[in-house]
Amino acid sequence: MLDYAVKRLGLAVVIVSVAMLLLFSMIYLIPGDPASVALGPRATEAMKAALRERMGLDQPIWVQFWNFYSRAWMGDLGTEVLSERPVLTVVGEQLPYTLALVAGGITWSVALGIPLGCWAAVRRGSWIDRVVGVLSVAVIAVPSFVVAIYALLIFAVALQWLPAIGAGKPGDLGDQLVHLILPSLAVGLGWVGYIARIVRASMLEVLEASHIRTAYAFGLPDRLIIYRYALSIAILPTVTLLGIGVGQMLSSAVFAEIVFSRPGIGKLVYDAILTRNFPVVSGAVLVTTAFFVLLNLLADLIVGALDPRVRSSF
């Protein structure tokens, strides 16, 4: 177990390092002098020189990368171009909103996807199965920003059931949750489809297994067989899938945050790109990447905790 965790952690470090290298070269390869790009056309030569020095742009490239790399691991992601606030602080302020959004998306996809996939498999060929089959393809095919816009138009504008914009009053958890419903639905709806499909497929496979036949031959109640004996195995691929799903939900979050005018990493990066605030862009992307890698690690550990076969092979 420990061996496995160490190995996985090592891999995570490598992945994050590669992401850093890519980010660094992206900034380096952007045509033009980063300092003048960042400061805009009206900046004086003296201002540019000062910024170049502050950003370390006057040093050899490998020194620049090493500085970037070693500082990033210490949590120093540089400072914002204009306000000079530490990037980590800026990103840290926005991160909880995005995490809440992704957590909401996961909640929707698990809370709807697992039961739908399970029922479709148990009542294979029935109308429920067919409806789930069609709907799951449909929601996978619709881009999340379309879902976001329609959800906003229907539930917030036309029906006025739910608030349209913002993240809710600070400190008021209930209000914040209400504001989370629509944007997280936009983020998670496609994944309801993915999860329903994978749970259905793996459930059908598990229901064919000989241990399920044994369970029926022992006269166990149907509910125990379906939920405890079969579903607990059929959901295992879901956990791994969700680890990857988080990455996609993070990118859907950008749209949801813009459509619903919510604060968050997506909104932050979007605004930073418009204002060419590159340290914030790379810092935010880096933090999200690290977060994504961490969640995948977590997903593997959860599979381990749920599946005794995997647990003992650690």
Binding site: H211, A217, L220, D307, P308
Partner: protein
């Protein structure tokens, strides 16, 4: 008294290519405290027979006629799902072929054995105590600790013994074993057979034992039922069927009997020809196309011929044992 009495059982499956008549007029009995072996080639309907008894036929399968009387009372073909479930795991238990896959991989052995007792009204501690006692009976070392382990932590032979323990825990009247030893190697097979026999005598249940392996049947079973293409072609005591086979199919099978041959044959011998298409069964004797003794009368289906002492064969020539000349 008979624990199980099957009369003229017919089972068919509806498929896209037509109706498969998997069992035709199957009749035999499983008397109290006896071990009855069912032997036959792959596809002859052994698993279908078990599933019909358990009420677990596939969705496309149905019982077209016949009765399955259990413990001289209820006709299993007429019971509803809830009544069938009440019998399964309590009065009728099953051990399946595949020891690797027969236990749930994500639930501990103790939990699974406790779940089987869900109708017993015992406390969780009592259920676990009984499970541990049962594991000890099938010689699982360190039984109490074994309760907390998962199936993958046991060897194939141990898993099969756990499956046997689970099946016999509720002291059923009938144990059905569908090729329980086929996946095991020869030494384990012998040990498992001896264990089954020992527990059967202790509990006093009857066993319906399905196998490809004639040697195992001869060793374990009191009575034998020989099946071919969904029909019972011969049945009787093991001694009757093995020493004096009357149906040409049984005779071909026994020519390769491991007891008569130097090397042990694990699978049934191959006989020239193929099993007939079960979608359109020939009008006459089912074995006629592959039979070297066939003659004009075989165009009509032979009735069961009583040879005496419960020995029955479905062949017009059952009264006349084959001669050495005919065999060559």
């Amino acid at each position: 008294m008979n624990v199980l009495e099957i009369n003229e059982l017919n089972v068919s499956f509806a498929t896209e290519e037509g109706v498969v008549h998997a069992l035709k007029d199957v009749s035999f009995t499983v008397p109290e405290r006896r071990v009855v072996g069912v032997v036959g080639e792959s596809g002859c309907g052994k698993s279908t027979l078990i599933n019909a008894i358990l009420g677990l036929l596939a969705k496309n399968g149905r019982i077209d006629g016949g009765t399955i009387l259990f413990e001289a009372g209820s006709d299993l073909t007429r019971l509803g799902p809830a009544e069938m479930r009440a019998l399964r795991g309590v009065r009728i238990s099953t051990v399946f072929q595949d020891p690797m896959g027969a236990l749930n991989p994500v639930i501990s052995v103790g939990r699974q054995m406790a779940n089987v007792q869900y109708r017993s009204g015992r406390s969780q501690a009592e259920k676990m105590a009984l499970a541990a006692a049962m594991l000890r009976q099938v010689r699982i070392p360190d039984a109490t600790a074994a309760l907390g382990r998962y199936p993958h932590e046991f060897s194939g032979g141990m898993k099969q013994r756990i499956a046997i323990a689970m099946a016999l825990m509720m002291e059923p009247a009938l144990l059905i074993a569908d090729e329980p030893t086929t996946a095991l190697d020869a030494t384990l097979e012998v040990a498992t057979i001896e264990l089954l026999r020992e527990l059967q005598e202790k509990i006093g249940c009857s066993v319906l034992f399905i196998s490809h392996h004639l040697g195992v049947i001869a060793e374990l079973c009191d009575d034998v039922v020989v099946m071919y293409a969904g029909e019972v072609v011969e049945r009787g005591t093991t001694r009757q069927v093995f020493n004096d086979p009357r149906h040409p199919y049984t005779q071909r099978l026994l020519e390769c009997d491991p007891a008569r041959q130097a090397q042990r044959v694990r699978r049934l011998p191959t006989i020239a020809g193929e099993i007939p298409d079960l979608r359109c069964r020939p009008a006459g004797c089912i074995f006629a196309p592959r039979c070297f003794r066939r003659f004009d009368a075989c165009a009509k289906a032979p009735p069961e011929q009583d040879i005496g002492g419960g020995h029955v064969a479905r062949c017009f020539l059952a009264e006349q044992p084959e001669t050495a000349k005919e065999r060559t």
